[in-house]
C-alpha cells in the first residue's frame, strides 16, 4: 500500500471514530425532559372549552334537526311522530340518486350512445376501465386521509380534498359534454385520458401520504 493510500485510510478511520463518538454522545442525552406542570392544566382547560363548544353544537343541531323533521313530514305527507320516517325518506332519496348516477354512467342508454364501429367500442371499454381505476384510486386516497387524519396537516387534507373536488368537477364537465354529443369519439378519448392522468396523480399522492403515515 502506498504512503498516500495509507494516510487516506487513517483519515477515514479517524473520521469514522469521530462520527461514532458524536453519535454515542447524543445517544447518552436524556430521552425525557419533564415539561412544566402548568401545561397539563392548559390542556385540560382547552379540552373543557372544546367539550363545551361540542355540547353547544349538539344543542343547535338537535334544534335544527327537529325543525327539519317537521319539514320532511310535511313534504312526504307523513304527519307522524315515527322516528324513522325522516331517515327512510332520506334513504329512499339516496337510493334513487345513487341508482340514477350509476345507471347514467355505467349503462348509457342505447339510443344515446350508438356503437358505430369497433374503434368506438374500444374507446368506450377503455373509458370504463379508466373510470374504474379512477374511482378505486379516489376511494383509497380518501380512506387513507380519513384513517390518518391526525398525522396530516389540516392544510394538506384541505388541499387534497379540494383537488379531488376539482378533478370530480372536470370529469363531470366532460361527462356532460359526452351526454350532449354521445357519438363524439374525441370526447370519449379525452375523458379516458383525464381519468388516467388523474388516477396517476391520485396514486402518486397516495404513495406520498403512505410514506408519511407508515
Amino acid at each position: 500500500m502506498s504512503k498516500k493510500n495509507e494516510q487516506n485510510h487513517m483519515r477515514e478511520d479517524e473520521k469514522d471514530e469521530k462520527e461514532k463518538k458524536l453519535s454515542s454522545m447524543f445517544s447518552n442525552l436524556p430521552s425525557e425532559i419533564d415539561p412544566p406542570d402548568f401545561i397539563w392544566d392548559r390542556i385540560e382547560n382547552s379540552i373543557d372549552l372544546m367539550e363545551e363548544a361540542d355540547r353547544l353544537d349538539e344543542t343547535i343541531e338537535e334544534e335544527v334537526q327537529g325543525q327539519n323533521e317537521i319539514r320532511v313530514h310535511f313534504l312526504t305527507g307523513l304527519f307522524t311522530k315515527h322516528p324513522y320516517a325522516g331517515a327512510a325518506v332520506a334513504a329512499l332519496v339516496m337510493v334513487v340518486l345513487t341508482f340514477g348516477l350509476f345507471t347514467r354512467f355505467y349503462n348509457p342508454e342505447p339510443e344515446m350512445v350508438s356503437v358505430e364501429n369497433q374503434q368506438y367500442e374500444e374507446a368506450l371499454k377503455q373509458l370504463e376501465e379508466a373510470a374504474f381505476e379512477y374511482n378505486n384510486a379516489r376511494e383509497d386516497l380518501l380512506v387513507l386521509i380519513d384513517n390518518n387524519e391526525a398525522l396530516l396537516a389540516d392544510e394538506t387534507i384541505a388541499a387534497i380534498k379540494e383537488n379531488v373536488i376539482l378533478i370530480d368537477s372536470a370529469v363531470n364537465d366532460i361527462k356532460t359534454a359526452l351526454q350532449q354529443d354521445p357519438n363524439n369519439q374525441q370526447i370519449l378519448v379525452q375523458l379516458a385520458t383525464i381519468y388516467y392522468e388523474e388516477t396517476n396523480m391520485l396514486l402518486k399522492t397516495n404513495d406520498l401520504l403512505e410514506g408519511i403515515t407508515n
Binding site: K18, E19, K21, L22, S23, M25, F26, S27, N28, L29, P30, S31, E32, I33, D34, P35, P36, I39, W40, R42, I43, E44, S46, I47, M50, D146, N147, N148, E149, A150, L151, L152, A153, E155, L208, G211, I212, T213
Partner: protein, 181 residues
C-alpha cells in the same frame, strides 16, 4: 412522572377513545417527557416548545378516535408530534418570531440531575445542538436521535432526500467543531 409499561397503553387508549379524561392524563404522564424532549430539541425555543406540547396533546385528544391500533400508540403520537412541530415551527418562522433561549443547565437542574463530568458533557451537547441552524438541527434530531430515514424526513419536512443528507452532514460537521471532536 409515572413510568408505566408501554404494553399497558392499549386499554388506556381504548378508554380515552370513549372520552375518559383520567386515562388521557395517564397517557400524558407516560409520554409527555419524551415528546417534550423531542419538542425542545427540535424547536430550540422554550416558550414555543410549551405551546407546541400543549397543541400536540390537544390534537391527540381530538384525533385519538382515528387511531386504529395498527402501530404502537407512542409511534402514532410521535408522528403526530413531529407533524405539529414542523408545521408550527414553519408558522413561527413566517411570523418572524425570535427564538427564546433555553437555559440547558437550569433545565437539567429541574430534572434533578446532579452536576458531574458526564452531566457537563451532556449539557455541552445540548447547547451545541440548540446552536445549530434550524433545519440542520431538526434533521439531526430526527435522523440521529429519533431514527427516521432520509426518505421519511424528506416527506415529512417537504424536502428532497439529498437536501436532508446535506443538512445532516452540515449538522454533524458543526457539532464536531463545537464539541472539539
Amino acid at each position: 412522572m409515572n413510568r408505566i409499561k408501554q404494553t399497558d397503553d392499549t386499554e388506556l387508549v381504548k378508554s380515552v377513545q370513549k372520552g375518559d379524561r383520567a386515562a388521557f392524563k395517564t397517557l400524558y404522564e407516560m409520554y409527555a417527557g419524551r415528546i417534550y424532549a423531542l419538542t425542545i430539541r427540535m424547536t430550540a425555543n422554550s416558550s414555543a416548545a410549551d405551546d407546541i406540547l400543549q397543541d400536540i396533546f390537544i390534537r391527540a385528544w381530538e384525533k385519538v378516535g382515528t387511531f386504529k391500533f395498527k402501530s404502537a400508540f407512542y409511534t402514532w403520537l410521535h408522528r403526530l408530534a413531529v407533524n405539529v412541530i414542523i408545521r408550527k415551527s414553519q408558522k413561527l418562522k413566517k411570523e418572524g418570531q425570535r427564538e427564546s433561549t433555553i437555559e440547558v443547565e437550569d433545565m437539567y437542574k429541574k430534572q434533578g440531575l446532579k452536576k458531574t463530568d458526564s452531566i457537563e458533557n451532556r449539557i455541552d451537547c445540548e447547547r451545541a445542538l440548540l446552536n445549530l441552524p434550524d433545519q440542520a438541527r431538526k434533521i439531526f434530531v430526527l435522523y440521529e436521535m429519533e431514527g427516521y430515514t432520509h426518505e421519511q424526513i424528506g416527506k415529512i419536512a417537504g424536502i428532497s432526500i439529498g437536501a436532508s443528507k446535506a443538512h445532516l452532514s452540515r449538522a454533524r460537521s458543526l457539532l464536531k467543531k463545537e464539541l472539539r471532536l
